[in-house]
Point group: C2
Chain length 424, copies 2
């Protein structure tokens, strides 16, 4: 990894895949066809791209059991414990609305209610991560969403991956469809004979899925379009180079476009980490991907003092940030922008990917400046409530009418003034 | 207005303007030019479309004072009182994060922080509503956003509307630019020599502004793209027809595409309201707009029983909902989807547009199924925090490594396992 002296903020401007016109045309065709023809179109496209269409789009209870039983019992227990931890962390995010009493019996309120139905897209093949099922479904369950649907492409054997089915069984999700790609997004957004429409679609996918989510956005809600993973490690001379290197590689192995950055006040650590990364790369199974990521987007910055290093991290607004320094908790207090913060030597980032309880779906590409990781708030909506008594109305109607007339909206003024006469 | 017997859910599918390719091309050119040339491009496009470019893009403190002093003192006091009410309501929405203690000294946390900087776009001319300045700026201030910027096109006299400047003075907003259109959105998103970039852009605008906001989304955050206004009134035979009619017209006068719907259990009220709407239309200054809205999108539904009426309203998920019935508060409890709920005869909808304290920027076009009105949460972001002690790490590392290996991510497993050896 290249070692650079830190002189100013760090910025992260990867050109991310946003799809070309040909892909968009295909996606629009799929969406239009599913909207018009429902299941028929879903079967048509599934057969076209996946090579076959399952007889029943919906996974049966027996298939869920069979899949869940196919995974190692120790792993099943690990997944169960992870689910408990994730639920415990997210339960703290549950909120109720409020009622604000005003004078004369009037009041204002905010009501918070769960969405009726949400759909989780789970990509096929190697990217079908059981951990992502937990991370998407649990916040929705904690929010109180009644109907939670999973859609995912079946393999050539007509089955979904056992890990995904195990996660679904652990969480009690029973509505699962063997549908992938843009046709899955269309089915979830518009509904078909088999699939009732949902209000929000979450979960990652390939470029066709991402384009389809963008297209249906507005008609339904979607989560963020996640980019490749990033990790920044902020470390001083108390950090161990082999641990820092291993953590950088843990994100680099995700994707050639992933980004791993070390910001440190220790030139010695910088050099050791660079060496360790090289050394550890040689035995990593996903070496090819990790090496491309490290070579293209990996970087080590050496800062003169911790304050400069902290400011550089804030300018980067990384998805994941590890802080391995003296007084790490105090340093963490100075971080304004990061999706997930991992404090101290033992909080290796994968701890949060799988198990600790925080969500692993976090804002990438410097959007932590304004965006948050997936959380319970993403599955609720808020309504405001106004109750004005006659007395409050009488006191304020002239003011409201004046404000409406200032904006040229006479109808608004008249509506407020229409009350309170002796009638009938 | 046409009176229909309610038989099933009500749906609202207006075809909303989403911009054509020619408009998108123009917007992309403006964005690219402002990104490359900054103020020069902003001046070029302002001169091209507004007919002149102000010498100073930034409004001076003297101009703010002059504008604020130009409005009627009573109105200034009304705006000030409205601002206080809005602040009081939104202050209840402030939240802090949490810290969740785990065993063995470990803990998880959620930190909630305000965005650094946000920009409010205020459209020019008649649509420059001072009330919208209050509704956008106050939630951001309550969230703790330090830098709040307004951008709005100047009139031919080189000035901004006095009402907008008065609202800005009341709120203490001092960074205001005389820039409108797509070039304003570009300036706020990318920054220029004069304008520092912001993290989020809110506020309504014409089709060019809306397209520009969509294009910069991802680089910065944006609020929802608001559609034309809607009102639904849910009423029984206790409601007064003239009041219901006046409230329907108050939203119809906004826009030819606005939508006003009455759902009632009283056939007599239905007929009376239809007559009243006709009568009141004849004297309404914005009669032409309101009539087009009522004719195209207005409707009265008569339900057999209140439960059916309530379900119909839930299927509609209206932006504004008035409930004028017996036991209105109990009826309100059964509403699952509505942006803003107004309970009882004296809570005429314009009460919330201007004064009560709730926000008037609410989800339109049935998106209240999954979206919320503008609120303090829109101006904060959340970071998750993990602190694992050595003991917690030691206890859980094998589980985390197993889960990582199940997903084929050996680098993740090794990162977690790299801790805890005797080193140096």
């Amino acid at each position: 990894m290249k070692i650079t002296k830190l002189t100013k903020g760090i910025s992260l401007k990867r050109q991310l895949e946003s799809g070309n016109e040909e892909q968009l045309k295909v996606v629009r065709q799929v969406l239009a066809d599913v909207r018009a023809q429902g299941d028929t179109a879903i079967r048509f496209y599934t057969e076209k791209w996946d090579g076959f269409a399952p007889e029943n789009l919906r996974v049966t209870q027996e298939e869920i059991e069979e899949g869940a039983n196919a995974i190692d019992q120790q792993l099943y227990a690990d997944l169960t414990e992870a689910a408990q931890n994730i639920r415990h962390y997210h339960e703290q995010q549950k909120r109720s609305g409020y009622r604000l009493e005003l004078a004369n019996g009037s009041w204002l309120g905010q009501r918070i209610t769960a969405l009726d139905a949400v759909g989780l897209y789970v990509p096929g093949g190697i990217a079908a991560y059981p951990s992502s099922v937990l991370m998407n479904v649990i916040p929705a369950q904690v929010a109180g969403v009644k109907r939670i649907v999973i859609s995912s492409p079946a393999g050539r054997d007509g089955k979904l991956p056992p890990g995904v089915l195990a996660a679904a069984r652990i969480l009690g999700v029973e509505e699962i469809y063997k549908v992938g790609g843009a046709q899955a997004i269309a089915g979830l957004a518009y509904g078909t004979e088999t699939i009732s429409p949902v209000d929000k679609i979450t979960g990652p996918g390939n470029i066709f899925v991402a384009l389809a989510k963008r297209e249906v956005f507005g008609e339904v809600s979607i989560d963020m379009i996640a980019g490749p993973s990033e990790i920044a490690v902020l470390a001083d001379d108390t950090a161990f180079a082999d641990e820092v290197a291993a953590d950088l590689l843990s994100q680099a192995e995700h994707d050639q476009l992933a980004c791993a950055i070390l910001v440190t006040t220790s030139e010695q650590l910088a050099k050791k980490v660079a060496d360790e990364v090289e050394k550890q790369l040689t035995t990593l199974p996903r070496q090819e991907i990790a090496r491309a990521s490290i070579e293209n987007f990996g970087a080590i910055y050496v800062a003169e003092k911790m304050a400069d290093a902290i400011e550089a991290v804030n300018s980067l607004a990384p998805e994941h940030l590890e802080i391995v320094t003296k007084n790490a908790e105090a340093v963490a207090e100075q971080i304004r922008h990061a999706g997930g913060i991992f404090i101290g030597r033992y909080s290796s980032e994968p701890v949060g990917d799988y198990f600790a309880g925080t969500n692993h779906i976090l804002p990438t590409n410097s959007t932590a400046r304004f965006a948050s990781g997936l959380n319970v708030d993403d599955f609720v909506k808020k309504s405001s409530i106004v109750f004005y008594s006659e007395k409050t109305w009488a006191e304020n109607a002239p003011k409201i009418a004046r404000l409406a007339r200032m904006e040229g909206l006479e109808g608004h003024a008249r509506a407020v003034e229409s009350r309170g006469w002796e009638k009938e």
